[in-house]
């Protein structure tokens, strides 16, 4: 919800409601595209790339909607910049380690491979 002053005009309220309607409509459309893609037979690489593009698109739409709450507020910018750095660092850990394990930890990939079970054998329609 956008922060409004006690005297916020009805126009501001309607503007905010319109922004939310637009945001969720776009998210629903992008999600629908994602669902359609989930049923198409794509290779793992393409599927992951498409999923990442969809996630980035959604994040961009959300950011565009909420940036007015953040921009100009130094404290929030600092807090969220640190958050992004933290999450990016966490994500880069596994991505930069081609051997499949994080430096300083044991290599669990062999154990994981041994533990693999053909889950599709349990496939069901719920």
């Amino acid at each position: 919800m956008s922060e409004t002053t006690p005297q916020a005009s009805q126009q501001d309220v309607q503007k905010t409601v319109g922004m939310y309607k637009r945001l969720f409509t776009i998210l629903v459309v992008i999600t629908a595209i994602g669902i359609i893609l989930a049923y198409t037979k794509l290779s793992v690489g393409i599927a992951v790339s498409v999923a990442l593009i969809i996630m980035v698109l959604k994040s961009k739409v959300v950011w565009d909607s909420f940036k007015s709450l953040v921009i100009g507020r130094k404290l929030l910018i600092i807090v969220f910049s640190l958050t992004v750095i933290f999450v990016a660092g966490l994500l880069l850990g596994p991505v930069l380690n081609h051997s499949g394990h994080i430096v300083g930890t044991v290599d669990i990939s062999k154990d994981l491979q041994q533990d693999e079970k053909p889950l599709e054998a349990h496939h069901h329609g719920d």
Partner: protein, 202 residues
């Protein structure tokens, strides 16, 4: 309540140094910590997926139609919260109650569907210990469900006993709904942007 406002400053008005009041600053800091929490779990997902020789497609194990329905329910819930907030701004308390109540109902339906999904998995012998994918699925969706439950508790309080505040301090009550709404949108967006695509569609 007016005594409380005198004892605790910046409940509604903004602090000049930060530009926020207590609740707004609190909710944004809380959401930043939540992003870190789910970011860590998402990182675990990437690590485990990259390490695994075999990784099942979500569609082969999980029920996409049910999850799609749950996504639609959360979107409806978020929009209902926006309408509830707008109704308060228009001094239409009756419409607010209807919209806010509907969003709570949506949250309950979401949890009911999630419970149904969990039961189906357990019935087929699929537990968190069965595979890293399922461990992540139950951890991420379970944690998200706990967030929904937390939001429902707060929203139910605001709709029930907490609504008395509207009579004597409507502005602070509006502010509480605004803060609760920000949290609710976060929980919904978390599902729409991260959990649904990563677990069900990849």
């Amino acid at each position: 309540m007016s005594n409380t406002n005198e004892l605790i400053p910046y409940i509604v008005e903004e602090r000049p140094d930060t530009g926020f009041n207590n609740a707004t600053l609190g909710i944004w800091l809380f959401l930043a910590s939540e992003i870190m929490l789910f970011g860590a779990l998402f990182s675990s997902y990437i690590l485990l997926r990259a390490s695994a020789a075999h990784w099942p497609a979500g569609a082969s194990i999980l029920n996409i139609p049910l999850a799609t329905l749950n996504t639609a329910i959360l979107v409806a819930s978020s929009i209902a919260v926006v309408f509830a907030w707008a109704s308060l701004k228009e001094n239409n308390f009756g419409k607010f109650r209807a919209c806010f109540g509907f969003s709570i109902l949506c949250g309950l339906v979401f949890l009911a569907i999630k419970t149904f999904e969990y039961k189906a998995k357990f019935a087929h012998g699929l537990y968190p210990s069965s595979h890293p994918f399922l461990a992540l699925y139950f951890t991420l969706t379970g944690l998200h469900a706990l967030h929904i439950i937390g939001g429902l508790v707060v929203n139910s309080y605001l709709l029930g006993p907490g609504a008395k505040m509207y009579k004597h301090d409507p502005h602070q009550y509006e502010h509480r709904i605004e803060i609760a709404g920000i949290y609710w949108h976060f929980v919904d967006l978390l599902w729409i942007i991260l959990l649904f695509p990563v677990l069900y569609l990849l």
